[in-house]
Amino acid sequence: MITSLVTILSLPLIIGVGLYLKAAPIFDQQSFYSLIFSSQWAPSKGEFGFWPFITGSLYVTLLSFLFTLPVCLLAAIYLTQFSSKKLIKVMHPVIDVLAGLPSVIYGVWGILIIVPFVSDYIAPIFNATSSGYSVLSGGIVLSIMCIPYVLNMLIEVFNTVPVGLREASLSLGATQWESAKHVVIRGNYPGIISAYGLGIAKAFGETIAVMMVVGNVVKVSFNPLEAAYPLPALIANNYGEMLSIPMYDAALMFAAFLLLVIILMFNMIFRYLIHKTKRQ
């Protein structure tokens, strides 16, 4: 029994070391700094600058976070404070199924609905033309994928608030919303921040759905109606040719290593906060 436990627990270390060893040759050729901050991307010439991909990832993630933020917070408050028992019973399977749908299904849905919606309705509002395969579409699809994940954690966090506290606040004359605002939200900052932090980490590593709607063009741009090229999409798109160009595989493994380190760090920090709040 203990061997299997140890195997699982040592997995992140093994993955990290494995990816690092594969990525190591690239450090002989380029400095860590230029790998991350250079925008020169020409694998055939041996130039690997990950800046466009990193900004692309960050930008899509940020947008999805903006959409997730109000929806999750309000829905979690409604489900834990205001709603009837019956609705909670209905919502549980809804959240489960939303969380369980494969990302490729979200991608198909994004192509069918979100992409035309962005190019036909959103872009004309800003007098812009857009193919619809854009950062905005990626953000919307990602946010819908992250909502069940974040919502589940928020509900868990809000359920730790003692009923007595809320009743005390209500008996002092606060309205339902006021007690939610002052007791539930204010008392749970670490938990709320962690839930969103974990949501961000999930969004950052999401691959297929984003890759299908985001356009995959290498450039640094801050227009949400233009295409971008997030880091996971880069890895997924180029696995075929990476063995035929020298150093390309090392560069892509470096990208995977980067993803692993960033996401593991996010997870460690915010999981720690959640574990701490749960124990209180």
Partner: protein
Amino acid sequence: MRRRQIKILEEKFFVFLSAFMTYSLIVVLAFIILVIFVKGFNALNLDMILKTPEGGYYYGGEGGVLNAIMGSLYIAFGATLIAIFIGMPAALYINVQLIRYRRTQNTIRFFLDALWGIPSIVYGAFGFTLMLFFGMNASLLAGTITVALLISPIMVRTFDEVLSTIPKGLHEATLALGFTRTETAFKVMLKQGFSGFITAILLSFGRGIGDAASVLFTAGYTDNIPVNLDEPAATLPLAIFFQLGSPIPEVRERAFASAVILTVIILIISLGARYLSKRYSRTNLK
């Protein structure tokens, strides 16, 4: 008086807004499933499910995606089996042997949760390096192992969550009767937590069958149903992804039909998990 009105207005506004957000989630889920079904229904026929791609399939010719359905099922079954062998003992160990060490338990849970968060593309890349290291090609075996790594933490944590709710008294009673810890684990805890075990299996299976990024590098793609572990295997998510990239409308239609197949499989699994976990927890000692 005015402050009171504002207060009530604020209350009404936010209660309405939060209710709206909650109900909109149900609408979004219904919308997603509806869109997939409506779009995919046209191209969906028995050939899609019962045939492998025939000549010229990717130009609109005859055939179906049986290769991908079988490939996905093989990989998900194999991976779940491996994950059971790694995950079940690990979860039992946390809840039986470590029952007196709360701190250690919590630390382990913390690491497992962090492990759960690693994106599947990283597992895919790692599986790829592992594959090259052992000199294998993209194959059923490589894909299965990669997916098994991906779903093991899920398996452990889901099973563990149910095991941790089993009353301590039961545990102590078995020890008082002279059971060894291993006997307690496999004869009592496993039985009591069986509903959790089923949920864990189905959840991992669902995750394994729907994941595309991890099998992208490792399982390859083929038009045949694999008969050996060292042959490449097609998977349903990748079949959807590749067919959707085609410029030919018929092939794109089939991508939507394949999406219907995958959605139905996932819905069956996730509703089945719900039903079975209820059914098996009925006989539990409370």
